[in-house]
Point group: D3
Chain length 322, copies 6
């Protein structure tokens, strides 16, 4: 029962995230207007029965069980809700609600382990191994960071905006890094690969999955670059004899990977590894966004207008659906 | 024996920092060309005797004992060096070599203590007190941070570029913050004052005093904003029950105090305190720079052209020397 | 009978400003669609009787007497108008229609007088006193400028956009200027305070109050900075022996107070006073805007998205309503 | 005896402007180093006799009588001065010292009169006629403005930087305006021509001729756009029944003629005349600069690198000297 | 039967371009929603009969024959379509559908011929003559280029966006070029005029007229500047002994006429002709846009807000309709 | 006899490029000041005998035979020239004068042939094969373009600024393109590789090797992007049935590979291949520049300040010389 496939007239019974809610009044009666979402899309819904009471029971970002009928309102589909209640954790799986990577968590974990296995530098290896097991104390950090890393998205809207997107993006960058490093003798390949794996790790604290992805207060006030920088610096401090210079070079990769202050990096690239990391992050995030745009339309020729990059994309005349 | 007061023909005998050195050749003979500095200025010097050997014994940034004569070379003064050797730590005081604040370290410390005394919020108070005593382990951090804070400059060239400059600038901002906060009911005055005191604390790791001030490798690769952010985040983690939200708001002040990405801040101001802190940092650093420019010329009317802000400054026609 | 408090079903009888009007047709009948406003907000209204005739009698910007019923149309409130006619000047007070400062005109005037009393420089004192009594001849200038100054807003939408906003903002800046000036010995405090009081005086010619605030033709073609510059230059010319240099320094404060050409200032700050005035104008206008945003939502946590500064504002988790 | 034509070995006896001076010391002797200038160029000069005394007698910007010999110093020409003294006003004419337009003051005046004669709008005609005779009271304004207008340069370095340059540039723009206006029916040709004649009139207060052209304090603190705006606004106020709207449109032309805030205009063009005036000012000042560059080299092919516009200019392969 | 003049209740029978189409569903029934356009404007239309079938028969950009009634829907006019079918080429003329220049194709051609007649340089004359007759082989180029040039618009929305707009704009620029060139002795007038005529010729390949103007794939992927550059370079290669340097200077005019990289020119102006061409293109395209804005409202005082230039336009208080 | 290895006192006899020349006068005698260069560096030289006559015989950019002695002048080395004359083409090889790629022309050609061999798309294969044999008529184009391509530099100063640099850079990009393409299913790998090989081919016309690399007039007036675009478009036109769409997509790669207008591209990337090509050009040109900087200093730690990117580069503490 995916939102993407609903048709006018169908009966609906399923689990959805509450993306927005608003209590409104019409002809002296209250009704509740909702935006519901699942892994496949979004849809409006209305509830007339007990609208005010229900409004108090539902939270934006929570998952709900919904029964109703699909109707057409002003030429758009919407669900006329008959029953709605908060879902219990055991009733649904997050995978039905949130979009996720085509790679399973296990695959992503396995690839990460494999990347760490290849690293020969003992300091970097220790740090990456610690990253995979670390379970820091404190509010947002009392579970295994690595588990959160494997589940986090790499973006809210623009690219890799799904469960596992962060790890998928980081691992693909690590692979590209291994491919590209041999062309440049000035580059330390293992430092570069480590930087690729960890560059966006602060996104673990930047987004929360609440039926959909949204920014956390830490994500907005501190930002993923500094959450990640502080975390990696703290990890390095826990490892005996971790060289100060290596800490700086690794932090430098995290801090400079967006290239310039305008693009959100507090520090510009100053090491050969930082120049390469910036370039392949640019490449992989832009191409990740193109892939997302393609998936939405899957139509040869010209795309719709893409506001964020202020242009249309041309897929070619006879593109075979990939 | 200050560089500023040397005259052609005088005998020189004193302690100076080696700012630059270069072994050169003229008429098949080697000579050593030096730039020497002290708290009052800089001067070139040349050494012909044992130039190559001496070159190996001196390090840029170290302090040396120099004897020689002031001469004129191509219309500029320079020292013809007869004797030069590395100075021993007990022979000279840093104060002869480096410029310093008009406030003594004791005064600055006392004012800092007084600011902390005023703070009533227990979390912020604890954090500030811990800051004054913290002595973290590890390479660049095994001495008391607060001592380094009281000695550090706030800049290399542009403003408060002298010993104690960081504390002088931070304390003046704290005072202005206390003056200005009452005008804005949205502002938490104690958070703002704490932010003023700590906003630039990362400069402790950004500069090293080596006869003059220069960037450290950490200063360039990590940057003072991120060094400070990591340090304050670590401090907060050491304090029991320090609220996560307060950590974020405090880190936010450090991260956003330069206002925009172009100006070096990875995060733009998003809290009332951050807007105020940014504005008074702008004010105090610009005015600190104007004060430095004024000190150099002390002349009514128009200043020399100031490259960094791309303009002349007008002091007024009849300015009394302040 | 404030717009903010109207509810569906209520009878309305009151005075409002006509913000927009449009004659429309539906089912071959004409109706008049209006946007009405008062000091508390805006609301749509419709009139079916004699729509075309009434349309000719009403002017955008004028104040009208309205009778009707509040209804719900497409989920928004609107007024079904039964009677509407131009209001007579004696029937209503501008204060019911336009929002105004929490300070009365008398308070603002008193504080201005007090600021002038403190000024010891005879030239500046004379100029400020002349400002308070000047009544220039000619089209837009035949009333007392100072009265207009006490009533004018400091902005159309962004900050201090209400009656008395200009004086409130200018006086608060003068106070801050007096607080901050002692920190900077290069600054002439009285010149700075005078500049704070007068920096935006050109706004007297930039806005007209027509039920709401709108730009005048002079405001758009000449701009408040140049209206103010010309006016202050003319004032100085009327005062015997007013020093040319002081005129230039005062005009410089008006001309440079927005900081850069991109921000609307034809001249960048070049005097110590101009640097300070720019900084505290930035501070007070930004904080004025934050106050306005806070007033609208008065809700802890995150604000709505603020387009003009391209960010959300964080008020803190447990903010007490101020 | 033009600087441009001096050769090594020649005797010099003539009048020059002192552009820079510095008292220096060499081998325990003082000497005075000067930069002298005339209408044709600049040259260094040195004086050994009574250097310190002479230093006190000469002012930068003043004109001096010089006797000496041209020599070669470090591969550049310089004058070895034997005698130097302040020149008396009656001894020299400004035309020997300062470069000037190829058009005489009389020609420029005649062309201006002719432009005014063509104007049929009575308000604009009166204003232009008043401009030609106005003799305002006060410090910088006690002579006839129009005389200063006919003598002023239009720039310090970049274009029309010579006596009469302001009038030459303004009159050429007026002519182009008359040519171009008929293409655009939205344009009021007489307003445009008046704007062309007056757009830079504030330069009368921006530069002073002191042997060479330099900025005045008013020029820097107020700026030519605002000096001109205030002056024209004051002129209009002196004319009975001068329409307020016409004042605003004329001031708008002055205020917006540099196009954007970044380029120094406090107001962007908002009337058809303002769009045209901006475009032809751009055209004529850029082409004036190209003419200046061409005059300096007069060589087919590529010019030297032009820093201000960050490019080389290509004159073509077989350009005939014009 | 122009769209601009349709009124509610009228019967419609005419030819229109299909600008958009969408098959929608309401109450379980399909209907076809269309946007129709002609030379005078745009209007929505709906069709309920055989909506799905008709949807397959119509193409966006094609011209259709429409019969129906004008009605009011949600306060806007729309056409209730009874019959709609693809129009046959012989039934309608493009002139009814697309807006066009006030100058006929014949007039434009005649003026172009006249411009070529004036050119004395034999190389430029040959190139312009070849341009008027060239009929290159290949996909988009098998008809006479000059015919396409006389029909093409100069823009899609902003200026000269009608049939003949390209030629009208180019010819007016050529005239202005002839007027302005004599003021600047460094300019080769014939090269400038040739550049004016040809500078936008690449727009022939940039737009296609499909009921309205839209970008071609070549227009987006290659751009009019490079389509034009390649075409003119190819033309020059076909002419015996066409000097290489003249080719470069002519291509330079095409490549640099938009002034900077930000504005779309791959090369900045480096020849006197290029500086002038850029300036008069700026002038004529801005004024062309103002004329378009004026035509839409034809109302004295202030225009609507113009997004593209981020301002209002002021036409003056008493503007006579031109 | 490489310039890099010359020492004071040595006799010189060899071939060098004349990079600059100037006839100067000292003590009433003329002398000729030269800057000479070879593949290893640059050095000043002076000639006193027959300076004026020799000046006429030598051309900047030509190669000369020089005999003389290395001396020290103002602490820098220079050559005192005894004999100097234009070299004959058969006396020297360009390889002694100009720096060149570590790859031989044969290797580069072989790699190019191999890349073409891999291409399966018949249209692209034909175009690349034609590129390798094309010998266009006309001034700058009468030799085999491919030979020029194999010898050209990819830059004047910043990266790959040596013989063979263009091909080395293009081939390395083609290899990286082949490595990276499989990560992105939206990318046509062969089109991308073809774009990598040809993207900078216009540099063949942009630089001339005249003892050193300098811009040609075509290079400045037309630019390498447009020279390349026109050339590739012309090649495609020579191939029967070359699809128009493929031409546009290939030209698009050339036109957009610098990413934005500010960076010199008239068109922004709009196809998946263009996004990738831009990213790997950024990567390879930046890393090529880093390699050049490293080669110059070969010293661990921090580099000298690099103006062009406004930063220092950090090579790491213990970098092994590569």
């Amino acid at each position: 029962m995916e939102i993407r496939n609903l048709k006018a007239g169908e009966e609906v019974s399923g689990f959805f995230a509450v993306r927005k809610k608003e209590l409104k009044e019409y002809d002296s009666r209250f009704f509740l207007k909702l935006e519901l979402g699942d892994a496949s899309g979004r849809l409006d819904a209305v509830l007339w029965e007990d609208a005010a009471t229900t409004n108090h029971q539902l939270e934006v970002g929570s998952v709900v069980k919904v029964k109703g009928t699909v109707t057409t309102y002003r030429e758009d589909l919407q669900i006329n809700v008959r029953n709605i209640r908060p879902a219990k954790q055991e009733e649904f799986s997050l995978d039905e609600i949130l979009p996720r990577s085509k790679f399973s968590t296990e695959e992503l974990e396995k690839r990460f382990v494999e990347e760490v296995r290849r690293v020969k530098n003992q300091h970097l290896k220790k740090l990456l191994e610690l990253f995979m097991t670390d379970r820091p104390l404190g509010s947002a950090r009392d579970k295994k960071i690595f588990d959160a890393y494997l589940e986090a998205p790499a973006g809210k809207l623009w690219h890799h905006n799904y469960i596992g997107g962060l790890a998928e993006h980081s691992l693909q960058m690590a692979e590209i890094a291994r491919n590209v490093a041999p062309f440049y003798p000035q580059v330390d390949a293992e430092l570069l690969v480590s930087g690729a794996l960890l560059h966006d790790c602060g996104k673990v604290w930047q987004y929360r999955a609440v039926g959909f992805f949204d920014y956390t207060t830490e994500g907005r006030l501190v930002g993923h670059i500094n959450s990640g920088d502080h975390y990696i610096a703290s990890l390095a401090e826990k490892i005996e004899n971790f060289p100060a210079e290596l800490t700086w070079r690794l932090r430098h990769l995290i801090l400079s990977h967006q290239g310039t202050g305008e693009q959100g990096s507090p520090i510009v690239p100053q090491t050969p590894e930082a120049f390469v990391l910036y370039a392949i992050d640019e490449l992989d995030s832009k191409m990740g966004a193109l892939a997302r745009i393609w998936e939405k339309e899957k139509k040869a020729g010209w795309s719709e207008y893409i506001n964020l990059i202020d242009r249309y994309i041309y897929w070619g005349e006879n593109r075979i659906q990939t």
